[in-house]
Amino acid sequence: MNFDLPPDDDPRRLEVRAWFAAHPKPKYRAMAEAGYVVPHWPRPWGLAADAELQLIVDEEIKRAGVLAPNLVNPVAINNCAQSLLTHGTKAQQGRFLLPALAAEEIWCMLFSEPSGGSDLGALRTTARKEGDHYIVRGHKIWTSLAHKSKIGVLVARTDPHAPKHAGLSQFLIDMDSPGITVRPIIDMSGEENEYNEVFLDEVKVPADRLLGKEGEGWALSMSQLQTERVALSKPGAIWGAGPSARELVQGLIATGATKDPLVRDEAAKLYIEGEILRLLAYRSFSDRMNAKGAGPEAAARKVIAAPHGQRVVDLAKRCQGMAGLVRGTEALPQPNNGRGTYDNWDYAFWFSPAVTLGVGTQEILKNVIAERVLGLPREKDPTAKTPWSELQKPQLKAAS
């Protein structure tokens, strides 16, 4: 056991640092070609990096003052593009990967639907094969970045007669195709819109945009939701980004707020929890170095991290008192000089109710831990084995 992180004079670190010194304010394309966007991927996209080298690259990107590309194009870089390595055709890899890693083409995930977010397998959007095209009809919701995206990763039902999970397929669709309408959802923060509804009305998708085979949509979607890169360098309040407990406590000490005994104890609790979350993140990296899969602490980490983040921004907000109710008033100095979306205490606070909802609600994650880690009885889905088309019949709907 050794908790030491790669030292400052590690030769691999010096090499990465030298690259950033030679490329001040680098274009993301140059970073992508150097392998620094996805160091853990195989060459030529990445560096086939082990966990320590990934950590070094993360830290050096931050040190160079560069906004990490995965914060600009998170869906592609954190979640979905990796599926092209295993399931994409050569042509798809050539067409999509470099523009995605260089953040030249922003991606979004067309997953959730109004009929249910947590129960993804119940989705209703269909893709019907017609010659060398699929025709897509449906309605997606809670789509981050749809309004900025060139590419959408779509899950749709290609076989309505199969059980609900088995009939799904994935496509890479052009978001500027005729028939697509993107409508912003104004969330409770009232700031720049994060989420959108996407209407798909007889959208023609070329058959070569199918990712993998028909019927693989469920498995692909699940692996994409689970491959989110551990946000290592900074366990921020909002899904790993934005202000962290360290910055909270530094700020509260600087303003003198920690002289209040109640604030002092709460700040200490959050600081300690933040340090422990940092250790858990390092440990999941260390486990990967030891060729162990993502351990159960991944779900546990999210269960602790999400409400932790909410409490971090909540304490900052409360220490502002009345002034905190005035829109745009910052509680404490902005982390990262305010460059990332959530590097802003005021926005992070009014946005924070989202973090126990998105990327798995708190309730679903606790079910996952209870059922898959602790072995408690599984919640049965009575619709799991029935052909999806049967479930749509009116008499069954009435009976259910």
Binding site: F3, P6, Y271, V303, K366, P377
Partner: protein, 371 residues
């Protein structure tokens, strides 16, 4: 960076677990008014002596095994998991105090006997108000005939009644110093307290002109180092005790049926157990980090153990209460073990500084860095 336990550590932990699971029987404590004696406090110690555990942290030069803090956590965690009664805590505490505070002559005279199992120790540090830090003390030392005489009292001393030698913190010349005291002299009276955690023996001590020998190192040189290691024992016991509570409560939730299905099928129960598991993961990694930091004596070791102690104790307290809730009314009875863990968790949380006390220390350290 490698967070995995080495094979040596896994073997050490496995052998400690196998031994304690076989040997420790808490059932005598499930009768009202039973205390540590009924739970084979003395007999368990004889078994630990056979394994060489009294000398775990005694350096090899003095006949011990010379384990570092990380090694030791493999064993004290298992003591905590099983709530094993026996005077290991007191002997560890006294050993650390002598290691850090004693002269070479004192170490040579005492440590080999400890390692051989022939001498049990206890550390009398706390006062009536529960405090263990600072220069005040309810006991005072006066020079006399080339040695010292102690007057006053110490409180909440773990394993004092069976100890063969006491290490006592007492005020001398406006400073706190440590003294060696033979408990079997006329001037020393030891009362075993009706301590709620019946898996531990806790005592008050009174000194009436008791003869004492001064330890070389002064308070500031010795106590923070000793305290951090004792906090580690308490944190490790607590994190491991939580794992035991989680396992038994999960098992109960799988088996106990209500309204036609196991209660563990209901989300109200599932979510409590998921919370307990998540807090347990946090407590475990915090304890291992602190153990590593103390073993390596890194600059952040003191902060790391303050964080681990406060987090693990709070999590243990919450888990033991939740466990009683999930068991239902049966979990509230004396005949079940739930209350033994509940009481150990409460006691560990209070010992050597409550969680809030250590959180205040963490913030003070951060303020110092910022200044």
């Amino acid at each position: 960076m490698d967070f995995a336990l080495s094979d040596d550590h896994l073997v050490l932990r496995r052998s400690a677990r196998d031994f304690l699971e076989k040997e420790i029987d808490l059932s005598p404590l499930l009768r009202p008014n039973a205390g540590v004696e009924e739970a084979r406090y003395a007999e368990n110690w004889q078994k630990l002596v056979e394994l060489g555990w009294p000398g775990l942290i005694v350096p090899e030069a003095y006949g011990g095994s010379g384990l570092n803090c990380l090694d030791l956590v493999m064993i004290v965690s298992e003591m905590g998991r099983t709530l094993a009664p026996g005077p290991l805590f007191g002997t560890l505490a006294g050993t650390w105090a002598i290691l850090k505070g004693g002269s070479e002559t004192q170490k040579q005279a005492i440590l080999p006997r400890v390692a051989g199992g022939g001498m049990k120790l206890a550390l009398a540090i706390s006062d009536r108000d529960g405090s263990s830090d600072g220069c005040g003390s309810d006991a005072e030392a006066m020079p006399a005939q080339g040695g010292y005489l102690l007057q006053g009292s110490k409180s909440f001393v773990v394993d004092a009644a069976e100890a063969d030698l006491l290490v006592v913190a007492a005020r001398h010349d406006h400073r706190r110093r440590f003294f060696l005291v033979d408990p079997r002299q006329a001037g020393v009276t030891i009362d075993v307290l009706p301590w709620r955690d019946t898996t531990r023996q806790v005592c008050n001590i009174r000194f009436e002109r008791a003869k004492a020998e001064l330890l070389a190192a002064d308070d500031m040189a010795a106590w923070p180092w000793v305290r951090d290691r004792l906090l580690l024992v308490l944190a490790a016991e607590s994190a491991a005790g939580l794992q035991s509570v989680l396992a038994t409560t999960t098992e109960y939730a799988r088996e106990r049926v209500a309204f036609g299905k196991p209660i563990g099928a209901y989300q109200a129960i599932k979510h409590q157990l998921a919370d307990m598991f998540s807090a347990g993961e946090c407590a475990n990694v915090a304890v291992l980090h602190a153990a590593w930091a103390l073993s390596e004596e890194t600059p952040q070791a003191s902060a790391s153990i303050a964080m681990a102690k406060s987090y693990a104790c709070d999590a243990y307290v919450a888990a033991t209460h939740q466990s009683i809730q999930i068991f239902g009314a049966i979990g509230f009875t004396w005949e079940m073990k739930n209350h033994l863990f509940f009481k150990r968790a409460r006691a560990n949380a209070e010992m050597l500084g409550a969680p809030a006390t250590h959180r205040a220390r963490v913030i003070a350290m951060l303020e110092q860095q910022a200044a």
